[in-house]
Amino acid sequence: MVDTGELEIFRHSLKSIVEEMGVTLQRTAYSTNIKIRRDHTCALFDADLRHIAQHDIAPQHIGSLVSVIPKNVPDWEDDLEPGDGILINDPDKGAVHLPDVMLISPLFHDDEIVGYAANSAHHVDIGGGTPGGIPNDSTELYAEGLIIPGVRAVRDWSYDEQILSLILRNVRRPDMRRGDYQAQLGTNRIGEQRFTALYESYGAEQLTTYLDELLDYTERRVRAAIADLPDGQYTAEDYMDGDGIVDEPVRLRMAITVDGDEITVDFTGTAAENTGPLNCTPAMIFAGTMSVIMAFIGTDLPKNDGFYRPFEVITPEGTMVNPSDNAPVAGGWEIPMRAGDLVTKALADAVPEETIGATKGMVCNVAYGGTDPRNESEYVYYETVAGGYGGRATKDGMDAVQTHFQNTANSPIEELESELPVYVRRYELIPDSAGAGRQRGGLGVRRDLEFSDHSASFSLLTDRTRSAPWGVFGGKSARPSRFRRNPDTDAEVELESKSTTQLDPDDVVSIQTPGGGGYGDPLERDPDAVLEDVRNEKVSPEAAREAYGVELTDETNVDGDATAARRSELRDTAAADGGELE
């Protein structure tokens, strides 16, 4: 039995290592995705391929490393030597979409492997037909970029230039990408130095004892938290926009079964594999689902092998959450993102006070590229845009945030405009985009980009133009996403959520993300809170009257009598419509 104090020290020591790896990757990388948007993670595994520590920064990557390492390392480990590094991004081997490239380094002590340091980072480009690695029209994996099936690209802590040159020749802006690959290597190097020191200070035997106990301890805590949830089967479903090729909504279905101290998540009933790039690997749906379940069972639990033991995730083969080999997956992250919303919807019955309304529930992949007229050089860029958070039992949903597994930062406008030939013309909250509720949802975001003096290729690979983020317990739905070319002009054109458009010089594209769904009956919302939203132009006076039944006498006062009358009128109308306020 390990002393609990000693165990806590050990846990912090492991955490320090992955945090330091994370800082190194972020500070040295070149891709905006990694350095600013923090779309990366770092992890440690032991010699038995058990996941022992994770840098809590981008939960979408949890699934990838946890899936890839146990699955593939046994095939390689006999040939590995100190200083080796394996690059991999192949979805058929357990990875996710191609831009998320992993580097895995064995850690040696006295000629024996004692663990692995690994990181996964989202590169801005991985080749393929569309700048930014998000083609909306791929029907097989080959069109989505370079597939790296697990190759020994590093020897003695240096890249094999033959292999690296092959990779870099296949991607846009190879100069920048080289910096990213270099940063990933430096990161594992730091992991090696720190883990080796830890190994030496504990010794092999003691380290194993501590690791066993840490994983068991984590498992105990997770099981205790699950046991607190009421037993039962909780189901939810929703529809995604089309897959980019076939313009028809497709169903995502989830059943969460809580049985004592174990949870099963079953995706049976989910639509079959899509022709277009709306498919995700089991590693992706695992990460998306788990990251939201984690929020329900404790915010500060260690993330390691012990955490996952009480869970089973069922992904039937041939569905869009477990497609066949070489299926297109570029837009796959939209599915686990929606699965996050479904977790909150399913668990609404189990833990009503803890759940939230639906969030923006879309990743909002946006990529663009072309030739910069200022210096005639090629450019490529990728970003995602925040939206509304769901309303909560005691407070409104946050305006303009990333949701569920996604917590990537934005690109500062001054950085963006310095690097690329674009102007950010609007970056603002969208009034009335949130679902009304006793606690309203958060507002969506509008980001308008002007592509000055050149013809850019502009790609969207996202979702939620059709299924509005729902409210819970009487809360209303939010506004879905919208995409427009040349908005508010005579030339305005609607863009599909999965589309690539060759723009004319000086075109403007408007990205408008959904708000979040409300929580509770909007007619119960504090009229002063409605007034405050009207004063701040987050809710229009019309919406105050129609959705909340709040009448204002002027800009700063609620008309109490008129509000009571209006609310009573709205309740009567709702009752006449069938008794349900929806």
């Binding site: 806590e8 990251s291 845009v385 930062a409 500062p412 001054e414 950085e415 975001v445």
Partner: protein, 675 residues
């Protein structure tokens, strides 16, 4: 030129230290802080020490202050009504922030406050591009309408933050002129004047926070200035800033955001001073109070600084001492989680009700109670309440709440608590050393604050350090730092050329130096007294994080700039394990710092006129209780050596020497413990 006074205001107490250069004596007093009007406590403290020491007010030549007024404004979101003017389409940049949630796995988390409500954020047409070239003309008429509407909304001040104003401030200045015409009484701040650096959100939020704190602090400092003059003290008040220097009240008002770490910075300065007097190169300052512990670093004799920090999830973009705070202090609450794991903090019992053993109604076991269980602190040290019953209650609660669930004896459980608290501090220390490529074992630990000297030996051993330092009066150590701080002003500008260009850098440095000289002149210092240093913020072209590197030379030339870039490669290699000497290096910002040194305190001899050994009692260490001598700090003499186990007591602080340690009292009265 004989008497110096330092006043450090904390949440509970205001500490005052007076140094008389003629006698070499240091005097200390404490008085309750007086929130929300902290100035009353400060003036009371000054009265008290002057009376106690019978000092002639006119002989006071130096008066320095560490304040929490700025800290509280930010921490408690106490923000006045401000208006904000931005470019068209961008009024929400301040509220959107970086679009992230502060926590990942928490559905109930909230974003930092927006600081300026949306209705007071207005837009004006007019825009520059990333080269500083105009792309949309400025609209005077619209700007006037916007300013008038904010003036009518009765805001306290208007912040103007437009894109690329760090390159071209023409439109911001024109808005400023319009504000002056519309309402000459109305305050305003331009982002290009307050924080001329790249990244619009950081620049905007920094300018807004600065303006907010400024409005809160200016009346406070005015009242202090008046109170000091009323007392016949003929000395300008200076204020500690987050960078570890002091500046005058005019500058403390103008750059108010720089006072947010005023208190902890004083502790770091005092740490460096001990480092110098004891001829140590590398030390870590461990300031452990009731709710949290502040960690600072001195490396090669210099305090480690950073160019930015964060409070309340809000970025604070000003040069500051690199202070890391962890939620573990004497009052941190101890609890058992669902998996049966032992946890310490982050909740704290604070000063009120405080730990159980304070007997002020506290019922939850804390780190201090764990120390009591182990006999490490004297139950009679708490002057209120019935000590013996409170101590017994602490033991009982500790047994039922912590020891029994863990299946451990009372003492074993208490030891576990201390280990967890120490592990948290160790992780923080690793962050400031390991993450910067340093081995913590090569540092000494300077322990202060009410609780630091109890834990420091164990923390130091965990880090494999050779020694810890227990300074004089560790309980009021930060106030001592106020007496020692140099007058230090910083200036920074975004680099006007991303390629290292000596010509452009030189002209920027010259303009910054002129500003520095002007500021020192306002404080009555001549250019010749000011030591000016230069540094650059550099990164590989394509990266987004820069490192500050000191200029390799005293003047900017092709050679020195080239050598500085070489130095950047070295720093990168040291921190991140590799460098890329063939990759282009980009200059992001230029920094210059002006310093006027403050004379050190003359060493005073320590005369022991009381018996060193006060008593003895049973104290628990790994393996069981041991009879341990209890020393009086005031009874220790220079050169005296103590063997652990031992305890040193003094007002406001207890120090622990575990078995196997040896302590020596140095000429300056510090106790150095060899681990």
């Amino acid at each position: 030129m004989t008497v110096r006074i330092g006043v450090d205001t904390g949440g509970t107490f205001t500490d005052v230290v007076l140094y008389d250069a003629a006698t070499g004596e240091i005097h200390i007093t404490k008085t309750p802080s007086t929130p929300p009007n902290f100035d009353e406590g400060v003036l009371t403290g000054i009265d008290k020490i002057i009376e106690k020491t019978d000092t002639e007010p006119s002989t006071v030549s130096f008066l320095s202050h560490g304040t929490t007024v700025g800290t509280n404004a930010v921490l408690e979101g106490d923000i006045p009504d401000l208006g904000l003017i931005t470019n068209e389409g961008l009024r929400d940049v301040l509220e959107i922030g970086d679009q992230t949630r502060p926590e990942l796995y928490n559905l109930q988390v909230d974003k930092p406050p927006a600081l300026v409500p949306r209705r007071l954020r207005r837009e004006v047409p007019g825009r520059f591009d990333s080269a500083g070239e105009i792309i949309d003309p400025f609209d005077e008429t619209q700007a006037r309408t916007v300013v008038e509407s904010l003036a009518e909304a009765d805001v306290d001040s208007i912040v103007v933050s437009l894109l690329f104003s760090y390159l071209e401030d023409d439109h911001e200045r024109r808005v400023g002129e319009i504000i002056e015409r519309v309402d000459p009484e109305l305050d305003y701040a331009l982002s290009s004047a307050v924080y001329p650096e790249r990244r619009e959100y950081d620049r905007t939020v920094t300018t807004v926070l600065n303006e907010a704190v400024k409005i809160r602090i200016q009346d406070y400092l005015d009242r202090l200035d008046t109170g000091i003059a009323d007392r016949g003290l003929d000395v300008p008040l200076t204020v500690m800033h987050s960078g570890g220097g002091i500046f005058g009240t005019t500058q403390a008002t103008e750059f108010a955001i720089r006072t947010v770490l005023s208190g902890p910075a004083a502790g770091a300065v005092a740490t460096r001073d001990v480092c110098q007097t004891e001829a140590l190169e590398n030390v870590i300052g461990l300031d452990m109070g009731g709710t949290s512990t502040d960690v600072s670093v001195v490396e090669d004799g210099d305090i480690v600084r950073s160019t930015a920090g964060e409070i309340n999830d809000l970025p604070i973009n000003t040069p500051m001492i690199d202070i890391h705070t962890v939620g573990a202090g004497g009052g941190s609450i101890v609890w058992i989680d669902e998996g049966g794991g032992l946890r310490v903090g982050p909740q704290s019992a604070g000063a009120d009700p405080g730990p159980i053993c304070y007997d002020r109604g506290g019922t939850e076991p804390t780190v201090t109670d764990a120390n009591l269980v182990l006999g490490r602190i004297d139950p009679d040290a708490f002057l209120e309440g019935n000590m013996s019953t409170a101590a017994q209650r602490a033991r009982d609660r500790f047994r039922t709440e912590i020891a029994d669930p863990l299946g451990e004896s009372l003492e074993e459980a208490a030891m576990s608590v201390l280990k967890v608290a120490n592990a948290k501090m160790s992780r923080q220390i690793r962050k400031v050393t390991v993450e910067r490529g340093q081995d913590p074992a090569s540092f000494s630990l300077v322990a202060f604050g009410g609780a630091g000297p109890l834990q420091a030996a164990a923390v130091g051993r965990q880090m494999e350090m050779d020694s810890i330092v227990l300074p004089q009066s560790p309980g009021v150590f930060s106030a001592r730092g106020l007496l020692l701080a140099d007058i230090r002003l910083d200036e920074s500008q975004a680099s006007h050329s991303t390629r290292p260009d000596a010509e452009i850098a030189r002209s920027q440095f010259e303009s910054m130096e002129a500003t520095l000289v002007e500021r020192f002149d306002e404080q009555g210092f001549d250019r010749r007294e000011v030591d000016v240093e230069y540094a650059i913020d550099a990164r590989y072209e394509g990266q987004s994080y820069e490192r500050t590197v000191a200029l390799a030379g005293e003047t900017v030339t092709e050679e020195t700039l080239g050598a500085t870039v070489e130095r950047f490669h070295d720093v990168h290699e040291q921190l991140y394990g590799y460098s890329m000497p063939n990759e282009p290096v980009e200059l992001v910002a230029l920094r210059s710092t002006g310093t006027v040194e403050t004379a050190p305190l003359e060493a005073q001899s320590v005369d022991a006129d009381v018996d060193a050994v006060r008593t003895e009692r049973k104290v628990y260490f790994e393996g069981g209780f041991r009879t341990t001598p209890i020393y009086r700090r005031s009874g220790l003499s220079v050169g005296q050596q103590l063997e652990g186990p031992a305890i040193i007591e003094e007002p406001g602080c207890t120090s622990l020497l575990p078995p196997g340690t040896t302590a020596n009292v140095t000429e300056d009265g510090n106790v150095i413990v060899t681990l």
